[in-house]
């Protein structure tokens, strides 16, 4: 635990000391929030009277998807600089090196989610959700972050350039746009709609939205959890395989 705490502290300093990390992870999603709320929002028919509420889950997922690319980047830099090997040649729990990065991802994404929510509150985001529903939202977001973080570990360990390490997240950031995050899927043409309705973001967004609105979550929450757990298990498996190849 001591080792993980030191690793977490180190890596959190990396987060707070690089301005572009903070900008990308919080400012960009806030910009999306503003753009969709005040520019596109008026023309989008969602069937709800509070479009900020409608937007919020998708914007949070975008924030997390862009946040985890920095995990890959930081891990890559550790591999490249040799400090990864230094840690591995020291009398510490070796797993703490990776887990330090993973926990940093959880903590820093949680911070950016809270910041974005606060901005959302100013813009009119309201939720009648009770404690249990909020815990549900936090749980789904944490699981989503954990799954994508382990996904990010794979390029972090195997990429040969820093750009390669973080490029994998672009499609992830894009995924919410082809989902129910910003517009209802009903108006999309056939194949796009099929894709949108069957990709993980839609289930996660719908589940979070229902929790915020105190609506019954139905099947969405189970589909969302299944997606997150599935991605987590597969990504973790591949990440550990890549890790073992690196550390013979």
């Amino acid at each position: 635990m001591n080792d993980i705490r030191v690793m977490l502290g180190r890596s959190m300093r990396h987060v707070t000391r690089s301005l572009d990390t903070i900008i990308t992870v919080t400012i960009m999603p806030i910009a999306f929030l503003l753009l969709f709320r005040y520019v596109f929002g008026g023309a989008i028919q969602t069937g709800t009277d509070n479009y900020t509420n409608y937007l919020m889950p998708g914007v949070l997922l975008i924030a997390i998807a862009s946040g985890i690319s920095y995990t890959a980047f930081r891990l890559f830099m550790d591999m490249k600089s040799g400090i990864f090997e230094r840690f591995h040649s020291m009398p510490i729990a070796r797993s703490s090196v990776l887990w330090g990065h993973v926990l940093t991802s959880l903590v820093s994404n949680a911070i950016s989610v809270v910041v974005i929510m606060l901005v959302g509150l100013i813009m009119g985001f309201r939720s009648s959700a009770g404690v249990l529903a909020w815990l549900g939202v936090a749980g789904i977001l944490a699981l989503f972050t954990l799954a994508l973080t382990w996904l990010a570990v794979i390029p972090g360990l195997t990429a040969s350039t820093p750009d390669g390490a973080s490029a994998f997240s672009y499609p992830l950031v894009f995924l919410p746009f082809v989902s129910s995050a910003f517009v209802p899927t009903g108006t999309m043409p056939g194949p796009v709609r099929v894709f949108a309705e069957n990709q993980p973001v839609t289930a996660i967004v719908n589940a979070i939205r229902s929790l915020f609105e105190q609506q019954p979550v139905g099947n969405d929450i189970w589909i969302a959890l299944a997606w997150c757990a599935g991605i987590l298990v597969v990504a973790y498996g591949f990440a550990m395989a890549a890790y073992r190849r690196k550390i013979a």
Binding site: R17, S81, G82, I83
Partner: protein, 252 residues
């Protein structure tokens, strides 16, 4: 934790990367408290040996022990006994010099990481730069910080893998002084280098690694004896290590 016998013992060490056979049976021993230089060209396998000894890489065959602990059977004990200073200064550029030292101190669970950090900063001439991010350090300063990080927890054995590669002459001299001071303090140092003068200046014993094996080893004086004594000439001079190296390598 201290044990009797040599600080490092390597026998019959073999390692291949795919079809490339890097180590073809390497044997050597390093006495406690001495500086042992592994001398060889780029790609001779020096770093591979260091990585095996620091439990980062598994050998295909052969035995290796550090501080009396087998690197395969007791890797955790080996890691307690060593510090590795790799080929590229493995320091955290985003942290300050002091933060780097404190971090390593915490990981090694020493009593007072801050005090140790301050002592090392003073000793390595980094006190003024202690609060600056390492990204702003010169190559020599990074190397000194790197080596200072390796000293935390007083490991009995230190691996220095090409510690002066990429340094300017001034930086090299600084690092040389640090290494000599360390050895005076009783630390065993395994040094790899491609610089002949570095081995000549620092090492108690020198091994020449060539083509996957150690083709010759001994003190500088012993290596000199390998060549025929100077013939009758008007000016008698000892062969430099460079001449010895090139002569021996050239024969193979």
């Amino acid at each position: 934790m201290e044990k009797q016998g040599p600080a490092i013992r390597v026998s019959g060490l073999r390692k291949s990367y795919q079809k490339l056979e890097v180590l073809k049976g390497v044997d050597f021993e390093v006495a406690r408290g001495s500086i042992y230089a592994l001398l060889g060209s780029n790609g001779a396998g020096k770093t591979t040996i260091v990585r095996i000894l620091s439990t980062l890489l598994q050998a295909d065959d052969g035995d290796a022990s550090v501080n009396g602990f087998d690197v395969v059977a007791e890797p955790a004990r080996v890691r307690e006994s060593i510090s590795l200073t790799g080929q590229f200064a493995a320091v955290d550029e985003i942290l300050t010099g002091r933060e780097n030292l404190v971090m390593i101190g915490r990981l090694r669970r020493i009593d007072d990481p801050r005090r140790t950090a301050d002592e090392l900063l003073e000793r390595f001439g980094l006190a003024e730069a202690a609060g600056r991010r390492v990204a702003t350090y010169s190559g020599g300063m990074r190397r000194r910080l790197d080596i200072a990080m390796s000293l935390i927890g007083d490991p009995p054995v230190i691996f220095l893998d090409e510690p002066t590669t990429g340094l300017d002459p001034e930086g090299r001299l600084e690092v040389w002084q640090v290494i000599q001071k360390l050895a005076h303090g009783g630390t065993t140092i395994l040094l790899t280098t491609q610089y002949l003068d570095e081995a000549e200046k620092l090492a108690d014993r020198i091994a020449i690694l060539h083509d996957g094996t150690i083709i010759v080893s001994g003190t500088l004086a012993e290596l000199r004896e390998l060549l025929p004594p100077a013939k009758v000439e008007y000016v008698e001079r000892q062969p430099t290590l460079e001449e010895i190296f090139l002569a021996i390598v050239g024969q193979r």
